[in-house]
């Protein structure tokens, strides 16, 4: 019979060996799991980015306010959820990829690559009146003008200073402006009313009146703050996925900072020195006081519906900077109360300007302008289709500028900014 005293030592040694080996195996397992997780996370980011690129190319196939599952490489391995929703005049495109319990998502603000279309400096509808230029007016870029053409004018003691009237090609315009994007108008006109929606959370503005910071991520539901009366925004920071609606008016003071926010109201007033990045949609009037700065991408839009006893207007006073899009669309034309976009002295709009009726331009537009008629008001008189000391320069608009497809169907969408 063999005595088994030594086996106790053997068992002890086996225990030590097994503890050491299992620790090695555990370390290896956790290391592998960590590496796998980080690799998978990077793969998810690649898939999300791929989803965004896919969404930009096939944006017309993505339903609004819904998500579709896309098999990126048709191999059942890389699937992403792509969604699209309106954000004022632009769209928000989102992409989401999931692996086990890990989800990665990104959202981008997208707009139309307007440089893909015709690069027009000025489109003035043909109302059988020529365009008259005076003072230091400069127009650079191709222009659609009335058949009666363009001429020099001498008014208010000023004559045209410059060698060429138009630094670009002159083409004949039609009697009416190219029709504005109907979907853009309809979608935003719908938003003036505080509708309950599955994708938004509608709240009473009074609940937030005392709150100085209102920030909402684009990965959450849109926060819609509504009031039936006038809203005055002072000493507030409002950023992100927030829409403010009023049945009457919204007044923004310089002490308020708005970022990515959309305002819908009957009338909107930006008091002096307001700075931020916002989209303003009004039914009747928008007044932007001196020295306001609306950073890219901002939108100033007036969408008139029905008749009024006054003229609808977007007034940009003096020394204002707007980078984005300014457009006015009045459904019913009223000869007595014509709608107008007025751009004051020292005001610079970089982007697109569209007025379905009148445009008064005393400042500068880096980009293109569309209007039915141009109006020039001086202390002594009112002139039709006259420009004095105004600048329109289409060539200076950056190739990277992404805007709104106001008149053309533009297939390619581009990223304006990453918002989430």
């Amino acid at each position: 019979m063999i005595r088994a005293g030594a086996l106790i030592y053997a068992l002890f040694l086996i225990l030590v060996i097994s503890i050491i080996s299992s620790s090695f195996i555990l370390i290896n397992y956790y290391n592998s799991a960590l590496v796998l997780q980080s690799l998978k996370k990077e793969q998810l980011y690649r898939e999300v980015n791929s989803g965004i690129n896919y969404g930009l190319s096939f944006h017309q196939e993505i339903p609004i306010n819904d998500k579709i599952e896309v098999d990126l490489y048709l191999d059942e391995k890389s699937k992403v959820l792509i969604g699209k929703k309106h954000w004022g005049a632009f769209y928000i495109l989102s992409s989401e990829a999931t692996w086990k319990n890990k989800t990665v998502s990104k959202s981008v603000l997208i707009g139309a690559n307007i440089n893909e279309g015709e690069r027009i400096a000025l489109y003035l509808a043909d109302q059988n009146k020529p365009l008259s230029l005076t003072g230091k007016t400069q127009i650079t870029g191709n222009c659609y003008l009335p058949k009666s053409g363009v001429k020099r004018a001498y008014i208010e003691g000023k004559s045209f200073v410059g060698n060429k009237l138009i630094n670009g090609i002159k083409l004949n315009s039609n009697k009416t402006l190219p029709a504005i994007n109907a979907e853009l108008i309809a979608e935003n006109q719908k938003n003036f009313t505080p509708n309950e929606s599955l994708t938004d959370s509608l709240m009473d503005f009074e609940l937030f009146e005392e709150q100085d910071t209102i920030v909402n991520s684009f990965s959450n539901k849109t926060l819609v703050l509504y009031s039936p009366s006038i809203i005055e925004l002072s000493n507030k920071v409002i950023a992100g996925n927030v829409i403010i609606k009023s049945d009457k008016g919204i007044v923004v003071n310089a002490s308020t900072q708005l970022s990515n926010t959309i305002l819908y109201a009957k009338g909107i007033v930006l008091n002096e020195n307001v700075e931020g990045n916002m989209q303003l949609f009004a039914k009747d009037s928008i007044l932007i006081a001196d020295n306001c700065q609306l950073n890219y991408p901002s939108v100033v839009a007036l969408l008139g519906k029905g008749n009024t006893a006054f003229s609808r207007r977007i007034i940009c006073e003096e020394g204002i900077t707007i980078k984005g899009v300014v457009f006015l669309y009045n459904e019913n034309f009223d000869r007595k109360n014509q709608a107008i976009v007025a751009v004051g002295k020292g005001t610079k709009i970089t982007g697109q300007v569209y007025s379905s009726e009148l445009l008064e331009l005393k400042g500068e537009i880096v980009g293109g302008a569309y209007c039915q008629k141009i109006l020039l008001k001086t202390p002594s008189s009112v002139y039709e289709n006259h420009l004095m000391d105004a600048v329109i320069n289409r060539d200076e608009l950056s190739d990277s500028f992404v805007g709104v497809p106001l008149t053309e169907t533009i297939k390619n969408q581009r990223i304006i900014k990453w918002i989430n």
């Binding site: 063999i2 005595r3 088994a4 005293g5 030594a6 086996l7 030592y9 053997a10 040694l13 086996i14 060996i17 097994s18 080996s21 090695f24 195996i25 290896n28 397992y29 290391n31 592998s32 590496v35 796998l36 690799l39 990077e42 793969q43 690649r46 898939e47 980015n49 791929s50 989803g51 690129n53 896919y54 930009l56 190319s57 096939f58 990126l72 490489y73 048709l74 890389s78 390619n412 581009r414 990223i415």
Partner: protein
């Protein structure tokens, strides 16, 4: 002092030794097996090289087919057509060693934008 030290018999010691050696070799085999199935140094090198190639491609906007050999690993960058549109391409980067694929990434890029 007449103390007797109790010793193990030679057979007893041999049996214990055999058991210990068996267990040790078994655990070594299991460990080697586990270590080889996870992320090896070679795979990590491949991953780093693919990542480097991807970053350089985006940084220098170098969207062309390329083959580079680094640390005995062949990095193959291929730009494949994407279905239905010319605006999109698939950027595929593979790391290969001795005809064995170590790592691969794929992503859709927008050619119009890039």
């Amino acid at each position: 002092m007449n103390t007797k030290i109790k010793a193990f018999s030679i057979i007893e010691s041999m049996v214990a030794l055999v058991i210990v050696v068996l267990m040790f070799s078994l655990s070594a085999m299991v460990f080697a097996n586990v270590a080889s199935t996870g992320s090896t140094r070679e795979k990590q090198d491949a991953y780093m090289l693919v990542k480097l190639m991807r970053n350089e491609t985006f940084k220098n906007q170098r969207f062309i087919d390329e083959v580079v050999v680094l640390k005995n690993i062949t990095i193959e960058k291929t730009l494949l057509d994407y279905q239905r549109t010319d605006n999109l391409k698939i950027l595929q980067i593979k790391a290969i060693k001795n005809e064995k694929q170590l790592f691969e990434t794929k992503e859709i890029i927008s050619v119009a934008q890039e």
